[in-house]
Each structure stands twice: as C-alpha cells, then as structure tokens.
Amino acid sequence: MQTVVTEVQTRESDITAIAHQPPVQDGVPAAPSTDPATARAALGTMWRIRRFEEAVDDLFARGLMHGTMHLSIGQEASATGVCLALRERDAITSTHRGHGHCIAQGADLTRMMAELLAKETGYCRGRGGSMHIADVATGNLGANGIVGGGIPIAAGAALAYKMRGEDRVVASFFGDGATNEGAFHEGLNLAAIWDLPVVFVCENNKYGMSFSTEFSMAVPHVADRAAAYGMPGVTVDGNDLDAVHAVAAEAVDRARNGGGPTLIEAETYRWKGHSKSDKNLYRTREEIAEWRERDPIVAFETKVTESGLLTAADITAARDEATDAIKAAVREANSGTDADPGDLLDAVFAPVDAAPLASSPNQDVTR
C-alpha cells in the first residue's frame, strides 16, 4: 500500500504539466479547436498515441516485442476528446485496445513502453503487458483483457465516489462488441438505478474482431441501447475531436452534478487489424481506405490551421515532439532492467502486515 502512496506523490509534478482541460467560459468548456493551449495539448496527445502505436507495431514486426497487441490507430480522437473532458482525480476504465486511453490520461510514455518491453520499470513490472497496462496515478483503473470487464468496475468506482460525497467521475471505455456482453447490461443498469457518476464511452469501430455491428446487434446504433436503462444515449462522430469533447463534457458535467450516467457512442474505425493475427478478411480495402481519409488527426489539424488558431509550424512541432518523445521512450525503456522472475509467488497477494490499512490513507488510484 505504501507503494501507491509514494507513487501518487512522485507523479504529481509531472501530471500538472499536462494541459488537461480547456478553459470554461459561461459554464461551458471551450471546444479544443478554439483555445490554442488546449488545441496544442490535444494535438500532442493524439500524435503521442499515433506514434506510440506505430512504434509498438514496428517493435512487434521486428520481433522485439512479445505477446499480442491491439492498436487504436485511427481512433485517437475519442480517447483524447473524452479524457480532455475529465478533471484531475477523475478515473477511467480501459480496454484491450487501451494505449490511447492511457496516454490521453497523461501516463508516462517510457513506463508504458517499458511495460510492453517486459521491463521491471514498466507500469506493471512486466507482469501485465499491453492488455493490462495502467497508470493508477493518472486515474487509470486498468486496461482489461476481458471484453466488457471494465464496465461494472467503473460503476463500482463511481459508487465509491458517490458514497463518499466526492464530485468525481469515471469514464468507462469499451468497444461495440462489448455491448453484447452481459457485463454491459448489468453495469449500465447499476449505474442507472444508482444515478452514478459514470460516462460510458463506446468506441464503435464497426467490428468486434471480425463481426460487424450490422450483424451483432439489431439496432442501428449502440446509443439506442441507452433506452433500456433510462439514460441519455448519444452518437457522435468519433473522429471529430471537438464533437467528442463536447458530448463528453456535457455527460461528465451531468454525472458530476448528480444527473447520472450517459452512454456515448463514438463512431470511429481502426486502421490496423484487430491484432497481429488478423488477415482482414471481413472488410474491404475500400472501406479501410475510406476511413483513412477521415484521419482524426488530419481533420483536427486542418480545422485549427484553417481557422488560424494554430500555424503550420505549431502542427509540425506537435508531431515532431511526439515523434521525439516516443523515440526517447523506446530508448529509455530499453535500458531498463528486465522483469525479474524471482518474486512471482510473493507478488500474488498484497501483504497483510505491510501497513495496517486503517492507518493508511484510502487506496485511491488517482492523482
């Protein structure tokens, strides 16, 4: 338990460096495309996600990374837009396709990369890998290898905040495929009946692995499912950062003020296969090409340069900084020590005697 506490303290300084929320005017948070600092930060986040995953793709291809991986390239706006709408001390639950969420919450790229490279210096000491990556200090309650696994967990965290009278919110990410799991139904129902401060964010990238949403559900939109829980459901262009941010900000605000949960469906697309073993037999080249045209990063760059908010130089700088940051992260991560098999058995249980829990602060996985 002590570890957690120390962790929170060391991380504090880094995190405040991350421009998180756009300024609020007349109670409404400004669109990212209208505030230069926010626009720059958001663009930086999206590029960090993109470059991080390109690096991961490359490391896997060269046999330098192990296991499996699920890339969110093409989906950067939904992670970024939602997390931009959160405050410090809010939390998220993430998925198997979770690098973007983790980065958007402000995790350290080196420790993320170190985790994927199976280093002791990684966020999970090499025990978790890509599918379980989490920086608890930035409020990430964990990626999850189980489709839908994070949904009831998000409801539970929100319940804790509500019971303690804290005005904190949980954003729970999941895919379209996850909405067919019982966990989705039960988690949303609990959040609805208890008016919990959760925002359910479905990143609808049209497929659960190979199975199209056209066949996996009998309603046109995931958001239609909100009706079963008496909560607002809204579909948004998940590749439009401003649009995602706007619906998320509204939902977060409602959640924070006791208005209960919302189901957001962000329509987006993954450019890459589901995982390394995907031969893309279930979708057409044309469809992929069409969505690549709708690159969320390019769209945002075009918008903010056309409006004159940022210059071409700002754009280049954002991209280059991200590129450099990832390169540095790979380099530094690589120099970390490998995860050590020595204490596997000790690591199974949290020690009972380490710190009497009553005298320790609440375990509280956010900055």
């Binding site: 338990m1 570890t3 957690v4 962790e7 939390a91 639950t93 990684g122 966020y123 999970c124 000491r125 090499g126 025990r127 978790g128 379980h132 989490a134 608890v136 309650l141 964990g142 999850n144 290898g145 189980i146 696994g149 949904i151 009831p152 967990i153 998000a154 409801a155 539970g156 965290a157 929100a158 319940l159 804790a160 905040y161 019971m163 303690r164 949980v170 019982g182 966990a183 139904h185 039960e186 988690g187 129902n189 609990l190 009946i193 690591a347 199974v348 249980f349 949290a350 020690p351 009972v352 005697d353 009497p356 829990l357 009553a358 609440n362 375990q363 509280d364 996985v365």
Partner: protein, 341 residues
Amino acid sequence: MTATLPQTETQAESRELTYSEAIREALAEAMTADDRVFMLGEDVGVYGGAFGVSGDLVHRFGKERIRDTPISELGIVGAAVGAALAGMRPIVEIQFSDFTCQAMDQIVNQAAKIHFMLGGAVSVPMVLRTPLGSGTGAAAQHSQSLEAWFAHVPGLKVVMPSTVSEVKGLLLAAIDDPNPVVFLEHKLLYRTKGHVPAGADRVPLGRSVVRREGADLTIVATGIMVSRSLEAAARLADEGIEATVVDPVTLTPLDEAPILDAVRRTGRVMLVQEAPGHVGFMSEIAARIAGSSALYSLEAPIKRLCGLDAPMPYAPALEAAMVPQLDDIVVAGRALATQEA
C-alpha cells in the same frame, strides 16, 4: 496481525449467538469502525438476506451501506471490485454459491488478478460472502460446494468457517485483508449456536486448527463436516478409537503443517468433505500428505469420504445419500482404524 478496528475489549466476555448472528455482529462492528466498509447484495436490505444474515442491519446503517441490488451477480461483484479499487471495503453477498458462476469473470479474471497484473500498484480489498452446501432440499442449482474452484485460483483467499466462535473473528480478519477473500458459509451452520467473543478480536486467516487430539487416526474435515467429524470422533472414542480432527479453516493459503504433523502421529488419515470428491479440495490434502515425508508414516491408504460425483438431487433420501453423514464417518473411521497395516 493487521487490524482495521481497535482491539480494546477483552476476550473474556462472550455470549451465545448463532452463526448468523456472529456474522452480523462482525458486519456491524466493521461498519461502525470504518466508513469504507459497506455491504451489497440481493435482498440484503429490508428482506434481511436470503438466509437472514444481514437481518436488521439496514435499519442500523441505512440503505446506502446495506445496499439492495438487482439480480445481477456479475454486475455487483464487478461493482465491488471497482469500489475496492477506489478505496472502499465492500462486502458482497451472493445468495447461493451456485450463482458465483454468474460472476466468475469478475471474481477470477478481475478481483483475483488485478493486484498481480498491475505489478502491485493496487489491491482489491473485498470480501465475497456466500452460503454453500446441501441439506435444505434445494436441489442441484442451489446446493453446490465450489470451494475447490476458488482455492485453485491464485490471488483469492478462501475461508470456510466451521464454528460459531470463530466466524466473527475470521470475517473481521477477511475485511481487514487487502486481498479479495471468498468467505464460504455453510447453510446448515447458520442456526447453530456457540460462544462468541464480544470484542473485535481477529482470528487470523491461514491457520489450520486441531479441533481434537487422538492417536489412532487423523480426520481432516471442512465446513459442515467438521462438527460431523467431531461427533463421529466422539462415537469412535466410545469404542476406544481416538481420532485427531484437523480443520484447515483457510483453504488458500493453506497451513499444511498441523495436518502433516497429525498424520505423522496417527499414521491413518480420513479426509471428509461435502463436495464431490473428484478434483476436490481433499484431493489437495491427500496430495500434500503423499508429497511429503508424512507419506512414510502412513499405515493405510488415505481414505477420502466425499460427496458423490453427481449433481445434488431433490429427494430428501437422495440428498442425504449424496454426502457423508455421521454414520458414514463413524463406519469409515472404524474401518480405517482397524485395517491391517
């Protein structure tokens, strides 16, 4: 031993309570002492719990902390995991242990593993209480004993309190524990009575208890089979056969030493459980004995006396025939003790 609650009162004071009342007392004391502790489950509120364990707690602690839930085992265990991650100390009640099947993902893939998967950055301090066992005519979907499953999952602690006097202290220790603890209560114990310390004394997890000493035979038993085995041992004693009875109490992490010691002293072992024998918890006890130097003390094959490998039937005669009864234990114990070495 870690303690959330102050350990002020003396152990001297004790009252006769039922097993249910002792559990309820632990719940009440933990909630009084620590705001983070709360309980959730189906019908735990005004109904008082399917087996009446929560009783009047909702009137004392309110609907927020004695939280009725919809019929959604997966959802509520998941909610407990999330609440634990966010700093609470949830206690979730599943009405019948059979319905943990609905929640297995959250119990096994989430609660048990998060601490390890996240490299120790967080833990999941929660307790899952659930009644198991047969004897009430509730048939195959309401009578299972699934302790072997939980015990096989690294990251879960598993407790099977068999006595009224310990159940309170064990539950308090489980609530203290920073790990997920599965707390398995036998239905037939709920109404049994015993002396319970008034204070908040913990009974530490992970300690096997020798309930009786005897030189001829060791009986290892869990749950409802502990009292049944003690009764059998008393009967055997009348015949001049003295049995040691060991109760592991905590199935994971298992305290094997008292069991192996008893085997070394007695040379003969009988393992008694209600659950079906095949790949059950007592298989592990047999494996521990046969895997240690206690093997060399064995004077006869290890006798397992377990539930039949069948679903639980409804008819009373069939239900009784399914699991070891007092007479079965006496007969098998006598046969074992008198078997030629």
